[in-house]
């Protein structure tokens, strides 16, 4: 029953990440990037020969690009990109799966998909939230569950053909990290008040002459925590896809030397790419776990400072 409550709470918490993509800036920077990338690609020697070089193909595969149409929603001009589409799709999948899981309860016992979701929910609640935040961990469980399921489904969606991983875009992970940052500050401020929360960052019993050193260090630490969360998730998602693409690119690279090298490369390349692909399924779970774990530890740090 508690699990059902947590599931319902997580449902209430679900929309949080959906509001997160900083709406305008990332998109602009992406299009700017694409715009400055285009003449570069055109100027490259390979483009003159009629085909792209390996690094262009690699970048084309992992970077964001517009879907090719735009619409106005009120005063805001939208130009959807691949990552935006898969961001919305991942959020929708999370909502649908959790809704199905809640519906699958028969007299308090989960069946089918509900049992699988409940296992993860209970794990996040008991092993991540309560262990690292303490007895008020239940309050932050919906947020942590939102992180966990969104990152998991975004990464798994990216493994399907013709898809892309929205968390492989630094703007998306920035949005997630900002939410985590707000949660960390909120945890401390809600418990101790604004002034006490910030004085908590200074370790007790510190000699006064060390204060000018420790205050900048602590402020830096406050911002480097979400920054590390952002970079870690982004780089993990990007790196997996880059490795898969590079392994598949070995086939044209080797056959450019000669067909004798290219044809035997096909099974080797496919095998290695398949192996990395299977590894990526594992990485999806690990990264969802690590992001949730680190967020809960950071929340716990500001809720229970050293004293």
């Amino acid at each position: 029953m508690i699990a059902a409550f947590v599931l319902a709470a997580s449902l209430a918490g679900q929309p949080t990440p959906a509001h997160e993509p900083p709406p305008e800036t990332p998109h602009q920077s992406v299009t700017e990037h694409a715009a400055e990338g285009a003449p570069h690609a055109a100027g490259a020697a390979h483009a003159a020969e009629g085909h792209e070089g390996p690094s262009e193909i690699l970048m084309h595969h992992v970077t964001d690009r517009p879907l090719g149409y735009s619409f106005d929603l009120g005063p805001v001009h939208f130009e959807p990109t691949r990552h935006m589409l898969f961001f919305v799709l991942a959020s929708a999948v999370v909502l649908i799966v959790v809704r199905l899981a809640v519906r699958s309860y028969r007299e308090g016992i989960p069946t089918g998909i509900g049992a699988a979701v409940e296992t993860l929910v209970v794990y996040v609640r008991d092993e991540i939230a309560e262990k690292n935040i303490g007895h008020d961990g239940l309050k932050y469980t919906p947020l942590l569950l939102s992180f966990f399921f969104f990152i998991l489904f975004a990464a798994l969606l990216g493994l399907l053909p013709f898809s892309s991983t929205s968390t492989g875009n630094i703007s998306v992970t920035l949005g997630l990290a900002i939410v985590a940052f707000i949660a960390m500050q909120f945890a401390g401020i809600a418990k101790y008040g604004v002034v006490h929360h910030f004085t908590n960052m200074i370790p007790p019993g510190l000699p006064t002459w060390l204060l000018p050193i420790i205050i900048p260090v602590e402020i830096l630490g406050m911002f480097s925590k979400p920054f590390a969360l952002m970079i870690r998730l982004f780089a993990n998602m990007l790196a997996g896809h880059m490795v898969i693409t590079t392994l598949l690119l070995l086939i044209p690279l080797m056959s450019a030397i000669g067909l004798v090298f290219g044809v035997p490369m096909i099974p080797i390349s496919l095998g290695l790419a398949l192996f990395i692909m299977v590894l990526e399924v594992l990485v999806a779970f690990i990264q969802a776990y690590v992001f949730t774990l680190l967020t809960s530890i950071f929340i716990g740090m500001s809720a229970h400072p050293a004293h």
Partner: protein, 77 residues
């Protein structure tokens, strides 16, 4: 000998990626070795040790990714 700055950037990116992986592998390798020794000595504490190991591994991986991003930027800019 005239050198293309772009070639130097690719060269630096390759060397940098290799060095990064060496550092990260050394760190995570030592961590895993110590964690396994700890679990072998004290199997009861396996759960706690595993949790702490994953946390430390994630932090090591984080700094490794910082420098990998730098090498990727060197290679694509």
């Amino acid at each position: 000998m005239p050198t293309d700055p772009k070639a130097l950037a690719y060269f630096a990116a390759g060397i940098g990626a290799g060095l990064t992986i060496m550092g990260g592998a050394a760190g995570i390798g030592r961590l895993a070795a110590a964690a396994m020794e700890g679990i072998a000595r004290q199997p009861n504490a396996a759960g706690d040790i595993r949790g702490a190991m994953i946390l430390a591994a994630a932090l090591i991986e984080g700094v490794t990714f910082f420098s990998l991003i730098v090498t990727i930027l060197l290679a694509i800019k």
